[in-house]
């Protein structure tokens, strides 16, 4: 590792981008609008990590700073922010974004400048499937939620006759197909696999369920369809266990489905902080500093920032200068970290080698539910379509 660092330092030494001694890590997440609560957690998580590391960087003669940015959960704004960030030579890495739909176009901009991005929250497979050297993520992938859910459904809940519904989107159908594959592998029978864009009237589907008599229903999609479907299923006396991916992970799901939500399961990639024993000290510090508990992606943002910081520190301690963006991107891909969310290591395309998936049970019709199982799953070895 040290040799590699030295070689890198020599190779890129002449082209060091930031000549001053200020090094900035930017967070990009929605800080205004409906999703600001989620976005702020990303900012604060990274902020904590940066502030913890500042004294060490000072000793090395560098000033480490955080540059929080607002993408408003909007792809256009995200790209505009990205364009601005790449022109600031002091910015060496990005922690963000919150939304996959924003992360993908923004990372196209980062890629042109080899600016490293570590995502604490993006679950869309396309984020890493493009195999960009500078794009990494700490959370699991949507297409692994399917198999993780199937494993739980068949092995733990004993599902035998499974009826699968999806919403025909890349996300929903993708998850549903992966669920089907794994469930069939495990010996369950898939009695129905149906796509629908319907939002109000699911009677046609429910009549099919009545005929096929499933004991388990999986829905690949988002809560606004799932809630209505589940409610109408229960009204028509279909008692099969209901499960879905993290599209159901919203208080709105329970609001729409009402009492019918009781007993439903969903899988998600972001676990509650209590499931990470190592995060306890960090959580206390966080609460003392910011006056609120770390939620949702805060711990992932903390680990994301720490991966960047570790790579930076290793480099700076050797080369006595800030790394170029390309150097840092290559380093981050190889960096491993014992983070608060467990062991962090990236595979060849930037996925976390082994990510956690959580199965959550709504024991009462109340959000959030209770984590009943944590499943660790390796990222799939998808083929890189075109390595750019």
């Amino acid at each position: 590792m040290k040799k590699a660092l030295l070689a890198l330092a020599l190779a890129f030494g002449a082209s060091a981008l930031a000549q001053g001694n200020v090094i900035k890590i930017a967070t990009v997440s929605p800080l205004s609008g409906e999703q600001a609560a989620l976005g702020e957690m990303i900012k604060l998580g990274a902020q904590l990590a940066v502030e913890e590391a500042q004294p060490e960087f000072e000793k090395l003669g560098f000033k480490l700073e955080l540059a929080p940015q607002d993408d408003q959960a909007n792809p256009d704004v995200g790209v505009a922010v990205a364009r601005r960030l790449v022109t600031d030579p002091e910015i060496v890495a990005i922690v963000g974004h919150l939304n996959t739909g924003v992360a993908i176009p923004s990372s196209e901009v980062y890629k042109d400048y080899q600016l490293a991005m570590v995502s604490p929250a993006n679950t869309g497979p396309a984020v890493t499937d493009r195999c960009y050297l500078n794009v990494n993520r700490l959370v699991g992938r949507d297409d692994v939620q399917g198999p993780a859910g199937a494993e739980f459904a068949v092995k733990e809940l004993g599902a035998k006759r499974i009826f699968i519904v999806h919403d025909k989107t890349t996300y929903g159908q993708g998850v549903a197909e992966q669920f089907k594959k794994k469930a069939e592998e495990l010996g369950a029978q898939v009695v129905g696999f149906v796509g629908t864009e319907e939002k109000a009237n699911f009677q046609a589907l429910i009549l099919q369920m009545k005929a096929k008599k499933p004991d388990f229903v999986y829905f690949g999609g988002i809560y606004h369809q799932a809630g209505v479907l589940l409610k109408q299923m229960r009204e028509r006396g279909i008692k099969a266990t209901f499960m879905g991916p993290d599209g159901l992970d919203s208080s709105k799901f329970v609001e729409i489905a009402g009492e019918a939500a009781k007993g439903a399961y969903y899988t998600t990639v972001a676990g509650p902080i209590e499931k990470y024993p190592k995060a306890k000290a960090m959580a206390e510090k966080f609460e003392k500093k910011f006056g609120k508990k770390p939620e949702s992606f805060a711990i992932y943002a903390y680990d994301s920032a720490n991966v960047v910081i570790k790579a930076l520190k290793d480099f700076v301690a050797y080369a006595k200068r800030p790394p170029t963006r390309a150097e840092l991107s290559m380093l981050i891909r190889q960096t491993t970290l014992e983070g608060v969310t467990g062991h962090v290591a990236f595979d060849y395309k930037g996925d976390r080698k082994k990510a956690d998936y959580f199965v959550i049970h709504l024991k009462e019709a109340k959000y959030p539910g209770e984590v009943v199982k944590v499943i660790s799953f390796p990222a799939p070895a998808t083929k890189c379509e075109a390595i750019k």
């Binding site: 149906v194 109000a200 589907l205 009549l207 005929a211 409610k231 028509r236």
Partner: protein
């Protein structure tokens, strides 16, 4: 396979009927406005939406104050209908009447205006809901009384199956006769012969599948579905009475036939057009409340699909014809439900529920090929 299809048939048709009543009530708004103005009021789907959202707000606001769900529903229907009627009148006053007064002869202009109004209303409701609740998905609360499920006696199911199968055989016999006449010289079979042949085949069919048909068909109906049927029937009856038995109805029909002559007889066409929008809007609003009651979730964009379907139903029945709109709505509702449920079975999963609209619209095209004027729209003289 066939057993499942037969067993599901009564339930499918029942669900289709309920959906069809909602379509029918929206379709009436399209057809009445077309009758008097020859304008396809595409903003009608948003008038429906306004009623649905207003009904949801009524339910949510008054849930605490009024304990009786039936009273609450009656209020929601009245308020939803009233809000929709007001929106409809305003749309006519502010958007369509100025165009008419300027003597615009191009029929595309009001049509484009209607589409513009439609977008405007969607985002207006979204704005209001957004400012009010910071969220624009509204949910109809559920009541145990409305959700209660009742079993229907088996003979209804048996009768439904028998009638449907008979209808199917009748159509088959009709085309069989047509095929025979292609090759052999013989007179066209009378309706009576066809009916008898179909009835005979139906009896054979019922005998062959007696183990399915006469077993428990498991037909259930929810209280809210019953309410939807009752309210829709009452509305349709009321409308029929209004159009045929009152002075207003006579005036509407007169304006529909010939506005200029009607105005010579002391009828103010503008007032009548306004009233027509009021009635159509009210029906649309009530349909919105019933839709929300049935399917729970409403939002500013909920009107688009039911609106398009209802417009289709109006064309299917014969646009401009009131009975036609009702019949078209029921037929389309049933076709949609049949397609949605059966396509998966018939194609062994290759074509899922998502193809239901394709099937429904293919049948629509087929029907219109044979009857371009719609199922009932034969008399061009009387448009309303």
């Amino acid at each position: 396979m066939l057993e499942i299809l037969i067993q599901l048939l009564p339930s499918v048709l029942l669900e289709g009927l309920i959906l069809g009543f909602v379509y029918a009530m929206i379709a009436l708004g399209y057809t009445m406005v077309y009758g008097v103005l020859e304008l396809i009021n595409f903003a009608h789907s948003e008038i429906f939406m306004a009623g649905a959202v207003a009904g949801a707000e009524t339910f949510i606001l008054l849930k605490g104050a009024i304990a009786n769900p039936f009273l609450l529903l009656a209020l929601a229907i009245l308020i939803g209908g009233a809000v929709a009627a007001i929106v409809a009148i305003l749309v006519e006053r502010l958007a369509y009447r100025p165009l008419r007064k300027r003597g615009t002869t191009n029929r595309l202009v009001p049509l484009i205006t209607a589409i513009g109004v439609s977008f405007f209303l969607q985002d207006l409701v979204r704005l209001i809901e957004g400012l009010w609740h910071n969220a624009f998905y509204r949910r109809y609360p559920s009541f145990a009384v409305f959700e209660a499920t009742y079993n229907l006696p088996n003979w209804i199911g048996v009768l439904t199956i028998a009638l449907t199968v008979w209808l199917g055989f009748w159509v088959l016999a009709y085309f069989g006769d047509w095929l025979i006449r292609l090759f052999a010289k013989k007179p066209r079979a009378t309706g009576r012969t066809l009916s008898l042949v179909a009835a005979g085949l139906t009896l054979v069919f019922l005998f062959l599948y007696r183990h399915v048909v006469f077993a428990d068909l498991g037909m259930t109906i929810q209280m809210k579905s019953i309410l939807v049927i009752v309210v829709s029937l009452a509305m349709l009856y009321g409308l029929n009475w209004l159009v045929h038995k009152t002075k207003l109805g006579i005036a509407i029909r007169a304006v529909a036939q010939d506005a200029q002559t009607a105005s010579l007889m002391g009828i103010d066409p503008d007032v009548i057009v306004s009233r027509t929008f009021l009635i159509g809007g009210f029906l649309g609003g009530v349909a919105g409340v019933l839709f929300g009651l049935l399917y729970t979730l409403v939002h500013p964009y909920v009107g688009f699909i039911p609106g398009i379907k209802a417009f289709t139903a109006a064309v299917l029945g014969g646009i401009g014809n009131i009975t036609g709109a009702a019949v078209g709505g029921l037929v389309l509702g049933m076709l949609e439900m049949l397609g949605g449920t059966y396509l998966t079975f018939l194609t062994n999963g290759a074509m899922g529920t998502e193809y239901k609209d394709i099937l429904a619209f293919m049948i629509l095209i087929f029907i219109l090929l044979f009857r371009p004027q719609g199922i009932i729209g034969q008399q061009l003289g009387e448009k309303v």
